[in-house]
Structure formats: C-alpha cells, structure tokens
C-alpha cells in the first residue's frame, strides 16, 4: 500500500529492482509460455504506476512480454480487480454478496457513501482520498461485513470500525507524504 502512495505520479518503466522481480516471475513458466506471467505483472504494474492501468502502462507491459497490446487489453478488461481509470488514493471494496448481505453489508455500503459524501458506488470522495466500490464474494463470508483495501482485508465491520479505518488510512497517507 505504502508503495502505491509513494509512486502516485510514477509512470513506466519499472525500477531496476521491480524489473528483476518481474523477470523472476516470467522464469516461473516454461520457455515460450511467458504470457502466463501477465496477470501478476499487471497487479505489480497497477501498484507501481498510480493504482490503475493506463493505456501507456498496458502497452509497456505488452512490450515486456513481447505480446500484442490487445492481448493485454483483453485481459485487463476481463478481470474485475484491475482499475482502468484513476481512483482515489485508497479503494474500499465492500463485499456485497449473499452471506455478507445477511449480516449487514448493505448498511455498511450506505454508511460509507454518507461518510464520503458520494451518491453512488464507484465515486470518489471530494478530497480524492477514498473510492468506494463493491465486490462480489471475497471469501470472508464468516467474518462479514468486510472490505478489501489494497492487499488488506478488514472484517467484522461496524460504522465505528469504518470511521477508525478511514482515520487510519488518512494518517498513513499524511505520514508517508510528509516524509517525502
């Protein structure tokens, strides 16, 4: 998460260190099957280059794997985790599927909307800090309501817990930025 913050404005190419990681991933697959590394590289690219996949980023990834840009676009648009537009600094993805709904996810979604002053899921708070999204089942059915932010799961949500989370992320952002 922190790395996303530090690199908000970063654009391709990868740093030497990241490139080494990417090359390591490509080597996990047999000769000629390097396209298998695509999804993982897209996750890394998203994290590195501002939290979303711009056409520039996707073309860059295509170049690394020596595949056609369309092969990257068709994958990036198929899988729901990839953001194809800029988002807030943090994306809250609240699970909305059955088991979470049974324990109050709709109320949590409504609460976050009010808190952020937005009218629809998918919108970003005016300060650009949080984007609210909904997600289908995230595999935390016994611990709902829940949301995912970056790689982190936050479970057993209540309005109070949501308040605390927002404060926590805001503080994280402030401290990271003041260090720079």
């Amino acid at each position: 998460m922190i790395s996303t913050l530090e690199t908000q404005a970063k654009r391709p190419p990868f740093s030497a260190e990241k490139m080494e990681e990417v090359q390591g991933i490509i080597k996990q697959f047999p000769e000629g099957r390097h396209k298998s590394a695509l999804l993982r590289i897209l996750h890394i690219a998203e994290e590195e280059f501002g939290g979303w996949l711009s056409p520039e980023t996707m073309d860059y990834v295509a170049g690394i794997l020596n595949i056609k840009p369309i092969e990257v676009y068709e994958v990036a648009t198929f899988y729901t985790m990839f953001n194809l537009e800029p988002t807030g600094k943090f994306v809250f993805e609240v699970c909305r599927t059955g088991p979470c709904m049974l324990v109050g996810s709709d109320d949590i979604i409504e609460y976050i909307k009010t808190k952020l002053g937005i009218s629809k899921v998918g919108e970003t708070s005016a300060d650009g800090m949080f984007t609210l999204k909904t997600a289908e089942c995230l595999g935390a059915c016994g611990y709902g309501p829940m949301l995912q932010c970056g790689k982190q799961y936050h479970e057993h949500l209540t309005p109070e817990k949501v308040d605390a989370l927002m404060d926590e992320y805001r503080a994280k952002y402030t401290s990271t930025n003041s260090q720079n």
Binding site: L39, C137, C141, G144
Partner: protein
C-alpha cells in the same frame, strides 16, 4: 470431539513456519511416498481412500488422477485450484493462511504421484496476502530440500509456483482456470478434450481443489484403510465446512462426515445455534450454487429421516427436497431474512460473473437478475415468477461450463420452496420493500 486430519495442529503457535510444522509431523507424507512408494502406489492409495473432490463437484480425486494421460516426452502438470470464489466458501483461504506448509506438502506428494515436475497453485487475485504466505512457505521448503532437484535423494525433481488471478469467479472452473493461468481471459474451454488429456499448454494436467490436495497428506500418512474408517460409507473422511450467515459462531470447522446437521448448527463444538435467539428459516449447505432448503427439510429429510452432513444425506430427495454438500459453504438464514432478496442477490452475482461466452448464460443470468430485482423492489407481477422458471430451463444444460446451471439451480429451488414469498412480494409490494429496506431505500441497480 470429532477426529481432525487437517486442522489437528491449526492452533499451535507458529504452525505456519517450517520448523514448527515439521516438528508436528510435517512432510512425513513426502518421506513416506518418495522413499517407500511408487507414484502408482500413491495414486492407488488415494483411489482406495474414495476421497471426493472438495471443490464442490465431489468427483473422486483418485479417479481423476487415473485419467491422466502419460505420453512419452510430454510434461504433465498438477495445478491446484485455489480460486475459491463460491459465495459462502472460505475454507481454502483458512487452510492456506493457517497451514501453508500443509498445502506445499500436499502439492509435493500429489505431484510425485502424477509425475509432474512443475506444479502451480492458481490463487484468486484477492487473496494476494495468502499468496505471500504461500511463497514464504515455498521458499522455506526449497531451503530445506523438499522442493527443487533430487528431493530426498529420490531422483524426483519438482518446482512449485503460485500464480494469481485477477478477480473472476469463472476461473474456479478448471478449464477457465487453465486459460487464465496461460495469461488469457477466463473463458471455459469445450470438453472434451478434458484437462487430463489436454490441459495447461496443451499438456496432460490434473486440476484439484486446495482441500483435496491437503487431504492427500493424511491419506498417505495413515493409509487409505484407516482413512476409510472415518466418516460414512459413501462419504469417507473429514470435510471442512465454512459456516456463515446468521449463526452464533460462524467459522471454518473440520467435521467427521456423518455428524447430524442439527448437531452442526446447534452443537457447542460447532456453530452454537442461530444468532440473536432467532429461528432458522433456510439453509444453503454447499455454496450459493446448490439448492436452498426450507426449515422443515434441514434437520430431517422429506421422508422424516435424520439429515446428516454427508454427500448422500444432504442430497437425499434430489432437487425436489434435498440439496448438495457442494463446497461446504454453509449459509444459514434466520427467520427475518427475505428469500426473494437473497435470490436476487445471488442472481446478480452470477450475472456479474458470467464470462459472456455462451448467450444462454450471458443473457439469461442478466434477465433473471432484472426480473428478480423487479420482484424484490415491489414492481413485479405474478407472471414474472413463471418467467423465471422459463429462463431457467433455457439456461440449464445449454452452456459450455456449469456456471449456467449454477445460476439456474438456486433460483429454481427458491421458487420451489418459497413460492408464497415471491407471490407476497407481488401482492404486498410496499410492505416487501419496507421490510427489506426501511423507508423505500432501494439498493442501486448495477448491471
């Protein structure tokens, strides 16, 4: 206390690290298999154990292994399906998060049996934090000589990698998973050819669920004969159940097959009953795709016999009055829950997750979502209920993969058992909306 084969040491502090895991009997199945058994003997042991695939379909794991083609000079692959996405199911995450070395051990022993020298764990992208846990365990296993070249001096080589998805339920279907692992969109392939003949990169491949592969470890350790003594005649061994919904104590539990459903829901050792002192209204015992059971068919079958936690007892009565053990995603509804709302919610899920390849599924799931949303928000009419049944019939059996069926079954079952509630939504639209959303606050329509 029932017998625990997978979660026996789950509460031991540090069990996710190599040393603690090893000190608690870890990697013994690899030693036993590589030092004392031929690959074929491992396959036969798993076949004998009658282990049924734990991902949901319940296809015998050993039989799946026996179908694997073995042409000369062609690599074979074992791919673990860790794409757990079936609503209500969170057991595989629990296993991998808490016991990553059990997953690694299961992969090694199973890969040896199948003669795979490169194996992959395909994990859903949202579980990136679990991927990191697994990679740490894999690195430890390499360092200790359980992975890599010439494992235990046996001459057997194995490389093991974890690959993430990108958020797509369909990638839990094995051929969609393979497409995804090849870096493509998760569109299921036509079968045949089955993956056992043409799978990853066109090579013979076995795809197994996380829990199935982890269960290979105790089967090899204690032997199939001992394993068969656990559980029931038709459902051997133990099963992880991920219990959720309106329960006092939701969570992941390992049960011996054959305990009663009543014991599992109300017993102290398990879920401890319905939350907030309410009564049970319905149960989905095996993940969102299996038929819902109304209160009177939960602890007893239609014939009045006790209902047990086993493949055969949960499916007793067929789709008319039974359901399925499925993935073990056990979703409990209390008396205040609305079946129409829940059915709509799941229909929305399937519509969202349809890959779009087959028109009956792509269009049908979207139509079901629309019609159910209409009913749910008090704008439906009586004909809509039959319309749903009609759409259902047009999806079922007409698609490349089972997602279409998985979307159709829960709607059909909900109407079968709760038709009156659907009708009530038509005759009492305002009350229905008020009950579910307070003052006409309706959820967003997101198609």
């Amino acid at each position: 206390m029932g017998r625990k084969l997978l979660l026996e040491h789950v509460d031991v502090p540090g069990i996710e690290t190599y040393d603690v895991y090893r000190n608690h009997g870890g990697y013994k199945s690899v030693e036993k298999a590589l030092k004392t058994m031929s690959p074929q003997e491992v396959v036969e042991e798993v076949q004998k154990s009658a282990l049924k695939g734990r991902g949901g379909a319940g296809f015998p794991t050993g039989m799946k292994w026996s179908f694997l083609a073995k042409p000369e000079g062609v690599p074979r692959y074992l791919v673990c399906n860790a794409d757990e996405s079936e609503p209500g199911t969170f057991k595989d995450r629990y296993l991998m998060e808490k016991l990553p070395h059990l997953m690694v051990e299961g992969m090694i022993t199973s890969s040896y049996a199948l003669g795979a020298n490169t194996s992959y764990i395909y994990i859903r992208g949202e579980y990136m934090f679990v991927l990191e846990i697994l990679e740490k365990a894999i690195a430890e296993a390499y360092a200790k000589g359980w992975l890599g070249k010439n494992i235990l001096g046996s001459g057997y080589d194995l490389d093991l990698y974890v690959a993430p998805g990108g958020g797509a339920y369909i990638c839990g279907e094995e051929t969609a998973l393979l497409e995804s692992l090849e870096g493509k969109r998760g569109n299921p392939r036509m079968k045949p050819p089955f993956p056992a003949i043409k799978g990853l990169y066109g090579c013979p491949t076995v795809v197994n669920n996380v829990e199935s592969l982890c269960t290979v470890v105790p089967i090899i350790n204690i032997g199939a004969d001992e394993y068969l003594k656990i559980g029931t005649e038709k459902s051997s061994g133990t099963k992880l159940i991920s219990a959720c919904g309106n329960l006092v104590r939701p969570g992941v539990y390992e049960i011996e097959m054959g305990i009663t459903v009543e014991e599992f829901i109300y017993g102290d050792e398990w879920c401890r009953g319905i939350a907030n002192g309410k009564k049970i209204k319905a149960l989905i015992p095996g993940g969102s795709s299996v038929p819902i059971l109304p209160a009177h068919l939960i602890t007893k079958t239609a014939a009045g016999e006790t209902r047990y936690m086993s493949y055969e007892s949960l499916s007793d009565g067929g789709f008319a009055s039974g359901s399925m053990l499925g993935s073990g995603g056990f979703i409990v509804f209390d008396e205040d829950q609305c079946i129409v709302r829940n059915t709509w919610n799941f229909a929305r899920f399937y519509s969202h997750e349809s890959c779009g390849q087959c028109s009956p599924c792509r269009e049908g799931t979207a139509w079901m979502e629309k019609v159910l949303h209409r009913l749910e928000t008090g704008k439906g009419n009586m004909r809509d209920i039959d319309l749903l049944a009609d759409i259902n019939k047009k999806i079922e059996g007409n698609t490349i993969c089972p997602l279409g069926d998985a979307a159709a079954w829960p709607v059909a079952a909900a109407i079968r058992h709760f038709r009156e509630e659907f009708e009530w939504h038509v005759t009492h639209p305002e009350e229905a909306v008020k009950r579910n959303y307070g003052l006409l606050k309706t959820p967003e329509i997101t198609l």
